[in-house]
Symmetry: C2
Subunit: 320 residues, 2 copies
Amino acid sequence: MANIKDIAKMAGVSVTTVSRVLNNQPYVSADKRDAVIRAMEESNYQRNINAVHLSTGKTFLIGVVVPFSNNPYFGVLIDGIAKEALHNNYKLVLFQTNYEVDREIDALTMLKNKQIDSLIICSRICGWDIINDYLSYGPIVLCEDARGTKVSSTFIDHYKSFSIALEYLYQKGHRQIGYCIGRRTGSNSQQRETAYKDFLAKFNQPLDPNIIFYECLNFEDGEQIVQRLQNMSHPPSALLVANDQVAAGILTCCKKQNISIPNELAIMGFDNQPIAKIMNITTLEIPLNEVGRKLFLQAMDNTTISHEEILVRLIERSTV
Amino acid sequence: MANIKDIAKMAGVSVTTVSRVLNNQPYVSADKRDAVIRAMEESNYQRNINAVHLSTGKTFLIGVVVPFSNNPYFGVLIDGIAKEALHNNYKLVLFQTNYEVDREIDALTMLKNKQIDSLIICSRICGWDIINDYLSYGPIVLCEDARGTKVSSTFIDHYKSFSIALEYLYQKGHRQIGYCIGRRTGSNSQQRETAYKDFLAKFNQPLDPNIIFYECLNFEDGEQIVQRLQNMSHPPSALLVANDQVAAGILTCCKKQNISIPNELAIMGFDNQPIAKIMNITTLEIPLNEVGRKLFLQAMDNTTISHEEILVRLIERSTV
């Protein structure tokens, strides 16, 4: 394959001139520049777009950090980002972190190395001490409430939406409400925990740690939740489940065990995924595709820091 | 940020010398080479890895083409590829094509432009006339039976696995077996269609096009299939469903409509996704994570063309 020396020979110019053209520097006559570009077009050298990236500083790649790819929540979010990326002629570099710090740093390092133009972090494991170190290298966008920070964000107010759901369940007569979430430590989970504690305090309810379930991510996690419920002397009368997949898993297992829904257990999901519609699960709709699109547009913008709150909507069906 | 000229100045060498170091060319003394590398390390220039890619010709990026990201089949496949990529310190560039030719050509063009080292196509829309044009630019790996071609592949023999499933349903007494697949035109679907026709011919069964369902991709597609079944005067006694999500959707809708499974309708899924286990769906297991890992390893290998068949396994549960 042609290298910079071959191009110089073909164009009848010096290697320095080729370098200048590649690096978009001045002091090259129009004739020589044309000759270099022609030689690059005629040879394979032109095919190595990394040379072009060197001169433009743009890769047209956007990094997307997700903990897992095999999870419908992140699947729909990636889908939304990918659709908007396509409109803008960008490609996505996928970083699947499994919530390991080193993998998230890999993504941040690619931003630093200019291998990607921006980075969207759909769910974060690194602390702000690490994130802040990379802010100067390009836009970092978060899918969490990052108001008051130096990165753009598109987010659901999880405090607000959890409060809406809890008050709805309370209105329906429930006094022993449990909840199921994914990671305990994520910032979204912390907002939810605060909403839960404030709700209990408001209605003078005691906190029962047995009816809070962590690490609930997929359909199959429903099985062990139902198992644990069946071994309780005081099971909750309602569960707020932070993901429709898990809600669907719980519902399916309850039906198997002849637990009557919503009479013996009310179930409230989150997201309004297709499975919630089919299984008639009461849920809070999050327009994840729209979230994905907005995250992408923020990642494109390297001049403004913006924060977009996406509103949830209560969808009443048959499980509460 | 430092450019090639700044590096030359810092290192006390000519721009040509810097170019030579960047392009890994001979005729540079060890001292000068060290001075250039030191200058690159001390400046931001070192940060632009695209310069390194120019000299090594490697990006450590692997392209992955999928039609959709919001589909559990491709989610698990991406997950398998991503896990093996991580072990090998590679990142994935995701191309979501929605089965549009231009988007798949985008991915092939990035291979041509050396923006990615290899390309894994999980489900293809482009014909061989197009694929063949890109073979010289790097490994292209397919997730379909590509024996006899110039690309590596990891595949399920869909003719064989469909035949196994059909004969199992026949043994269970079914004489009116329908099937549900995704795209009609994909090479996997064509193998399945041939298996179906050969099966009917073997047992002297007539072909009833009304009991073949196309464009069945997601859980929610189960709804319209059950609707169509209910309007038939001669509905099938069994359905072979090429995707557990769709099988789960059909099962859920049948339960809603009080259609007894498997007495009134036997349902056989494909993949053995978690939902099949929870809902007790008889299925053919495809180890998709393993498929993903093998696809990645083939994409790493730019010297050998190989073809790996992954075997399916019948898992008897309660829906047949």
